[in-house]
Symmetry: C2
Subunit: 214 residues, 2 copies
């Protein structure tokens, strides 16, 4: 399999394509051209064709793209054709919210374990998943073939926990802690920095209304 580096800009757009194709599929649409899709999504048809062609020729000249087929192919590209085993680290409000979010499970992201450093929680269950002490982290990851660790802990402990996860050979960290994690390049990190997002919104709304419409 030959490998060309594909930019994160392209990758970031894939889930959105996937979402729109899923909707079209549910509406019973069989085929769609890049132009039709571009109108729906407010992007250029050119970009859609370019993006998709990084991964293969999924369309057909004179016809367009088969919705069902493209939907399945993008799922494969995104790794949604395989099950992913997750652990949650930090059983606070946000962690529980993620645990209770059904959509992840539907896409093959299965929470296998919950970890917390509060001894009062040990043995309690959320959605039938037991809360365990941090000491069991390493053995649990190995035993349960864990792919992804979800970090919903305060930033103060995040760095240490991330280091520990690296030692456990975790492949990916979904980081909700408000700090940058420095991990080796074979460990993938995806950050969700909620305050950054809120500040961006604050900037955009303040600017817009201070200055008036552009």
């Amino acid at each position: 399999m030959e490998y060309k580096e594909i930019s994160q800009a392209v990758i970031s757009r894939l889930p959105r394509y996937y979402r729109y194709l899923g909707e079209l599929k549910d509406e019973g649409v069989e085929r769609i051209s890049s132009q039709e899709l571009s109108k729906k999504m407010h992007v250029t048809a050119s970009q859609i064709r370019q993006d998709l062609n990084h991964f293969g020729g999924f369309g057909q000249q004179g016809y367009g793209y088969n919705v069902e087929y493209l939907y399945v192919e993008i799922a494969k590209i995104l790794g949604l054709d395989k099950e992913h085993h997750l652990i949650l680290i930090g059983a606070g409000n946000l962690g529980q919210a993620l645990l209770n979010y059904n959509n992840f499970e539907r896409r093959g992201f299965i929470f296998k374990g919950i970890f917390d450093h509060n001894p009062k929680l040990y043995g309690l269950k959320i959605r039938d998943i037991e809360i365990r002490p941090m000491e069991e982290l390493s053995s649990f990851i190995k035993k349960n073939d864990i792919d992804i660790a979800v970090l919903t802990i305060p930033k103060i402990s995040a760095v240490t926990v991330a280091e520990k996860l690296v030692e456990c050979n975790i492949k990916a960290i979904w980081n909700f802690a408000h700090i940058d994690l420095n991990v080796p390049e074979n460990v993938q990190v995806e950050n969700v920095h909620l305050s950054d997002s809120l500040m961006k919104l604050s900037y955009n709304s303040s600017r817009y209304h201070d200055i008036g419409k552009k």
Copy 2:
């Protein structure tokens, strides 16, 4: 005040600068050069200087940047010098997690009201904030000078609620629903699409480990 459009790429980096400057300030660092900061943040010094100069000359030749001063200035740019009044729409798990997240309040983002369409919740309080029926939305927004609506509801109702918010002249929507909202350009939308983020992580970790290191 003259206005030049500043790219979202630049804006997206501001909260990160702000975070690092806050840490430096807490460590008692008084001044920092773009080069020192660039090493800490793993970006180029050139980019830091370019980014900051969109908003003014905050540094001094031969000296660098005063940490405290720059920290305050970036806060102003991001609109953190003013209070923002928020409402939460959707009192589910994720909504509650956001309500309980102290950091927002510390930065001036204050939740004033909670709305839900489940009558069983009316009158209940989370963090001393009452849950109200959707019918009161419009009057509440006007009366309490609400800036930002936080949408933590299923996508099926998100579009309708967004339309209603637009009618109420809301300035900004922080959207956690997994759907694109179409609103007029004077309403700012910031999306947090958690499943998109997780899919991106899935892609990156699958790719990396399928193909081997680049």
